[in-house]
Symmetry: C2
Subunit: 518 residues, 2 copies
């Protein structure tokens, strides 16, 4: 066997059985090794950003890493934007980047690049195999770092480390350390703060605290203390829908964020960092919490959020149940719906019809902004956003989520401009037969930038600005684009047409795209 | 005025009047400043790799930089693969990457990244404005580095440097240093080597030496000494066609390269570096020149290749004309052509019908490999390849070349797998009405990787390898994809249908795509 075989064995022994791949020549021995391992599912992306974004969506839903296979520095570069999103989402990913054989690097062949320099900004851990016998230990270090640090590990695999011989030997799965819990003084300090400040205290639920048992426990803590529960501006994964503990979303627009948080004396962080302004604006603060607001960390990234919240609930003697959430009726719009299609009508239809246990992948940006509030009254679902703000996350994220959860319907709300960044992901949905309904908000503009231009005081646009902010000439034909990649598609131009199309799309299996012209 | 206005003034004062852009929020003040400068042509790409690849194609043809406008670290990351190609092509480019306002960086907002670390591997020069008054000098340093070093300059523009006020002041164009010529001993040493070794000497013409007057001079030197003239494995730009000084292309497959170069005693480099194996293979050398072959540099990158060759020709007392090139008849296949379409038939039709003074952008990879030899008998044209080997260069390169040379027909030979990386470039061709005919070699596989799998000794492919090397299920429908982006398109499945379609496409203006099913 060779180094590449050892790498496959280590991945599989540790439960990593999906590889999102876009290989090149320097990875051919790894491809050959994967080919000898039918237990590994290899999913091809026709662009590296599809592979990394799919690994992000997969990792968020599966709570374990996928592997990603990329080709030297340029291949890694193409995948970096979605590794950035994964890093901000604290998604574990093991990225394997092939490189030239080590003896070839000194010759500066055309594809030679400084892979470490490219990898570091988007990686929690970066390492390089130093020979075939080192591959196993390097892979184990990469997996351990990805899982314990909830981040992106980038392992560089020189071709000679892949093709060189290694002794056949059994691989032992990694013995996982128990994720740390906060110490007693931290629990007591946080409990005291919550007791003292009541509704002037907030808790930001990030990482793995915004769904599952952790979210339920947070609801009990809120019931005990009156604390406000927040989701991040762009949250990696939140359990939403009827009966779920509701979170306030920290608004993206700076003025709304300042207003939403202005009464807080203390903010408790669980599984994430202090929320700040997404961008800087002249004369506006970077910090969105009040100057006087104290920040306490209950559980840092990689710590046991659910356990920390349980300990806190116990210290607070919290009730056994969160406050009952008034079960809102589904948005009552479906029947009388008519007229020209608007982004609001789209989100209302989606909220009303979303099937139980769906996964909602939201890169709707300006058009999708009303979905958060409506999603509280939708059927229970998981709601994924783009925590890193690097557009082009949506289609790949939906793709990866569908692979992690083959029995759940995935609905992607997708801005048109952002969709184009990783449009190739539709092909992977077709190839793998994934159950994803993609709704394109076809507004034919970078609408968010039009708003931001107004924010910077540029009211009137001339030709150059129009040419950089509008994408209407020519208009993208999303039905053609989708069909070109083997995905069935249709266009809706009225609210009732959209409702009927969306209902029909939900009623079938496999990928489907709706171009919603607004 | 503000820092962004100053940046525009410095760019325009130095002849940089095209900006390939994909902006985001942190660049809104720069967008507003560009909007106040109608002399600047702003060309939008729907993905950053389109913008950087177009700047590469533009710079190769215009012999001056375009500006590229990108959005923070993830935006830069998306553009890096084609900056890599530009770096290897020695194309001058001035990349402007917006960043958060400097005071905002400490808050680690979601889009915060280490832009310098990302930029360095693909950049000749990296700098950051340190306030609005520094923008002018930083931009001048970026332009100077790009032009004198023939490379990628990456200028980081924090939002507060863009929006902060500067004193209005006239901008003086940069006083360009004369590109250096080799010293007399170098000329004499190279001349002596060529005299001594005759046909056992070679000259690799790279950079700006493989077209124009430099190529003609090289032909005179070959006539005087018998030296063999080589083009790089993947050359940035070569003048080809009937009557042009012919170059031998250094082959890409390692065994062919070794065979082609085995008789050389000395190799002279002009405007580039020593050719080496593209990839390493077990048991094969990295160096493709014979062990005993001496290497001499006549002109390094950024030096005056044409002047150096002229001085060398004079030292050699070379004849006034290169040896007459036997004018081959155009490939005689067009009339009798029939039957199923093959990659060979495609390249023959293209070589036969290519109009005078066309630009041929070649990312045909395995399918296009026969074009080089046929191009010698085609009408005179400029031939562009992908020197960095990072696929996804082709469509953007053709786009940028068409903007640099609006009166010339651009023909893009494009492998299907590679085309998908930056397929969004078709939209820019439609928006700008560019005169580009794209020929997609639709073989529905990463054919080059199938060959490489055989090279590594993996003869039989199982399911995992098939799933990573074939892109046939579903087949991409290139006519739909092109139409989805506003580009007219048609499919050819026989040789005669392709010939007729290609002829028709050449006879009209504007972008057209032919899916050539092989």
């Amino acid at each position: 066997m060779n180094g590449a075989d050892r790498l496959c064995d280590v991945l599989l022994a540790n439960g990593i059985d999906v590889t999102f791949a876009n290989p090149g020549t320097s990875e051919m021995h790894f491809v050959a090794a994967l080919d000898r391992k039918p237990a590994m599912r290899c999913v091809l992306g026709l662009f590296e950003g599809v592979a990394t974004g799919a690994a992000d969506g997969y990792g968020r839903m599966a709570e374990k890493p996928a592997a990603v296979l990329l080709h030297t520095g340029p291949g890694l570069a193409n995948g970096l934007a979605n590794l950035h999103n994964a890093r901000r989402a604290h998604t574990p990913i093991v990225t394997v980047v092939g490189d030239h054989a080590s003896h070839h690097l000194a010759f500066d062949a055309p594809l030679t690049t400084d892979i470490e320099s490219l990898a570091r900004p988007m990686s929690h851990w970066v390492g390089r195999a130093s020979g075939p016998e080192s591959v196993g230990a390097t892979a184990e270090a990469a997996i351990r770092a990805a899982e314990t640090g909830r981040g992106v590990s980038t392992m560089i695999l020189p071709a000679d480390s892949a093709w060189g011989p290694v002794e056949a030997a059994p691989v032992t799965p990694i013995a996982w350390p128990v994720p740390p819990l906060p110490d007693a003084p931290t629990i007591e300090r946080v409990a005291a703060a919550l007791r003292a400040h009541g509704t002037r205290a907030g808790i930001v639920l990030a990482g793995r605290s915004s769904y599952g048992a952790a979210l339920e426990t947070a609801g009990r803590i809120a019931a005990a203390t009156g604390a406000r529960l927040f989701g991040e501006v762009l949250s990696a994964r939140t359990a939403r829908g009827r009966g779920r503990v509701p979170l306030e979303r920290i608004p993206y627009p700076i003025d709304l964020a300042l207003a939403a948080l202005k009464d807080l004396d203390v903010m408790i962080l669980v599984g994430g960092q202090e929320p700040v302004a997404f961008f800087a604006y002249p004369g506006k603060p970077s910090r969105i919490l009040p100057e006087s607001c104290r920040v306490e960390t209950l559980a840092a990234v990689g710590e046991d959020e659910a356990g920390a919240l349980a300990a806190l609930a116990e210290a607070l003697d919290a009730p056994a149940q969160a406050a009952a959430v008034p079960v809102a009726a589904p948005p009552a719009l479906i029947e009388g719906l008519a007229g020209p299609l608007t982004d609001d009508a789209i989100t209302r239809v989606v909220a009303a019809l979303l099937p139980e246990n769906a996964i909602l992948a939201d890169e709707g940006l300006t058009s999708g902004r009303s979905f958060w509030s409506l999603s509280a009254s939708a059927a229970p679902h998981d709601y994924l956003m783009i925590p890193g703000g690097a557009i082009g996350n949506g289609i790949p994220m939906a793709t990866g989520a569908a692979i992690a959860c083959p029995d759940r319907k995935v609905v992607a709300l997708q801005a048109d401009g952002s969709a184009m960044y990783t449009v190739q992901g539709l092909w992977t949905q077709a190839r793998e037969g994934l159950d994803v309904v993609t709704v394109i908000y076809s507004n034919r503009a970078y609408a968010i930038l039009r708003l931001e231009m107004q924010n910077v005081g540029a009211g009137h646009f001339g030709r150059n600005a129009e040419r950089m902010l509008d994408i209407d000439a020519p208009a993208l034909d999303w039905v053609s684009l989708a069909r070109g990649m083997g995905v069935e598609a249709a266009r809706a131009e009225t609210a009732e047409a959209f409702r009927d199309l969306f209902k029909a799309a939900l009623g079938r299996r496999g990928p489907f795209l709706i171009e919603a012209v607004i």
